[in-house]
Subunit: 373 residues, 2 copies
Amino acid sequence: MYRFKPELRIPGPVPVPSAVSLQMARPVVNHRGAVFHEKFPDVLSRLQPLFGTKNPIYMITGSGTAGMETAVSNLVSPGTPVLCLVGGFFGKRWMELCTAYKAEVHVLEFPWDRGVDPDQVADFLASHPEIELIFMVHNESSTAVLNDVEGVSRARGDHQALLVVDAVSALGGTPCEMDARGLDVVVSASQKCLMMPPGAAFIALSERARAYVEKSEASRYYFDLRKYEQFLAKGETPFTPNIHIVFALEEALRMMEEEGLENVYARHLLMRDMTRAGARALGLELLVRDEDASPTLTAIKFPEADSFRQRVREKYGVEFAGGQGIHAGRVFRVGHMGYATPLDVLTALAVLEIELKKYGQATEAAERVMAAR
Amino acid sequence: MYRFKPELRIPGPVPVPSAVSLQMARPVVNHRGAVFHEKFPDVLSRLQPLFGTKNPIYMITGSGTAGMETAVSNLVSPGTPVLCLVGGFFGKRWMELCTAYKAEVHVLEFPWDRGVDPDQVADFLASHPEIELIFMVHNESSTAVLNDVEGVSRARGDHQALLVVDAVSALGGTPCEMDARGLDVVVSASQKCLMMPPGAAFIALSERARAYVEKSEASRYYFDLRKYEQFLAKGETPFTPNIHIVFALEEALRMMEEEGLENVYARHLLMRDMTRAGARALGLELLVRDEDASPTLTAIKFPEADSFRQRVREKYGVEFAGGQGIHAGRVFRVGHMGYATPLDVLTALAVLEIELKKYGQATEAAERVMAAR
């Protein structure tokens, strides 16, 4: 019906503000030239408040998975004992990456609708002093669960393991507080809460993680963070970067700085609460209980979810994401991250209402939540 | 003087046509959705005439080096005997990549101003039947040499080795003819002759190379071509791609198809001949002899090349590239690839003339070359 104005309500890639999109159309500059030298380190340093770190941020031209592999290839040697916390598709991706790099992989599995349990992590670590790296996901977008990274860091206590966090669908939508929480490696990407097109990943390391990188014996070249460190010192990347993501990032950060990071995070919480209240008012069942709910997307149980999604896409131009892994076909996911507002959530809820022939209820509930804040 | 209108005459990233740049600003689409499913395989297949292959092309979100590492990580296992043909910076990059992947690396070195000598390759292979992979560069942009890939393929004869070619700064500027010439793996990237911003690499495999990929024991995940093959079958990539490069590629290919590939290649040869004639008329010495000269860039010897480049950049807004490796500081390189015309070459030559206070000579020489074609 309204296919000429698509509403992309998937958990990434997300709609990009026009002002950011236009940066993507700028003329190319020399990535070894003066303009880039000046801009690049400055723009990256403005990501530090989002990561919550005083350490440098590196940009890898690639997808979020490229960022995750950058972490693994710089840390994991054959036989390194690692612990992967798996409660969804992206936790599994850490496990697959560590397996590909021939780590000694230990896995703690959690239900695919619950957050990681820090107590179980503490118990496991107590009996496994040899573990060198813990891999976890901050926001598990396959299940719409926000994991308690701070709890896991605390559960680690004085165990030696470094904590490596996939914050691809979290960073910019919810506080990361890397340094304060003791996260050792944080990975994110351009196309989620950072409001940019896909094309680049970002990664930061604690001092301890930086030192640990020297130990890794894995084969790596494009992902070798030591090269990125050397080149960042001269305002460059070792390999031709996605120059336009740097331009886009400058504008996206300007917008987030103007809104204020606290307001950005509060907006995401509001969108979460509205989506959940609206879905409940429609009699729909949420996949995740309140205490584990993601601020950046919501998963809703639905029989024959895929044909429902197709109908909604074709009739209204609103695109939801399907379920992943064990939830395929039985869940749909509503993205509310990045360049999204509570009004966008109302649109999504209105479509659900209309399609479910229960006019009025959900948006009323959502409006009550919006008013309550 | 004219810094508001920069003339980027470096060998990549190169200026991008406005029509292509505007594609970069398009709204984001779902990379797992209908629009992308329809467009992606179609656009990639239109690269086949440029590669000169009937085999599928895969797109890796990353730089040209990411494309090269895709080749290495899918082919090289620890201990694999490989031969790298090194006559410049990018030949050396193959060697470094193969070393990082713990190959048994053999190197044939060639002077950094000459093409690879197929006879030496034939001799080496005759005494090294164990070599499984040959790595070479089609257009060595560090020296402005076009290597004879066909000659090397022929020199290989019925030796078992697969021939892996870096065509990053060649593809789209000079015929590749992958299948006809018996090249087994060809890698290229978006930001050179393909007239796009940086952000993606492209790779194609012969049937024999495809079968060989199964043998590789290297740790790989993001670069695992078997995943790209699986996902291309459904019109997707395994990991969130640089969606906008797909849009940009569609427009860039439309432009190249409209011009006609033969005309595109002829234009590059003309720009080469003009640049060389103009430089000679100015009394400048070319780094590379005629028979090895690259159609996509030209290297010119110049004392104190870097301060000269800086002066030209600041006074006229024309940016040349510096020398690489042993040529650093003693050579500058003039890019004439992709979205560049003989008129752009005249601009570059005019600036050289003015700066060298020898008005008239070079452009006259260049005009004679242009008229002769």
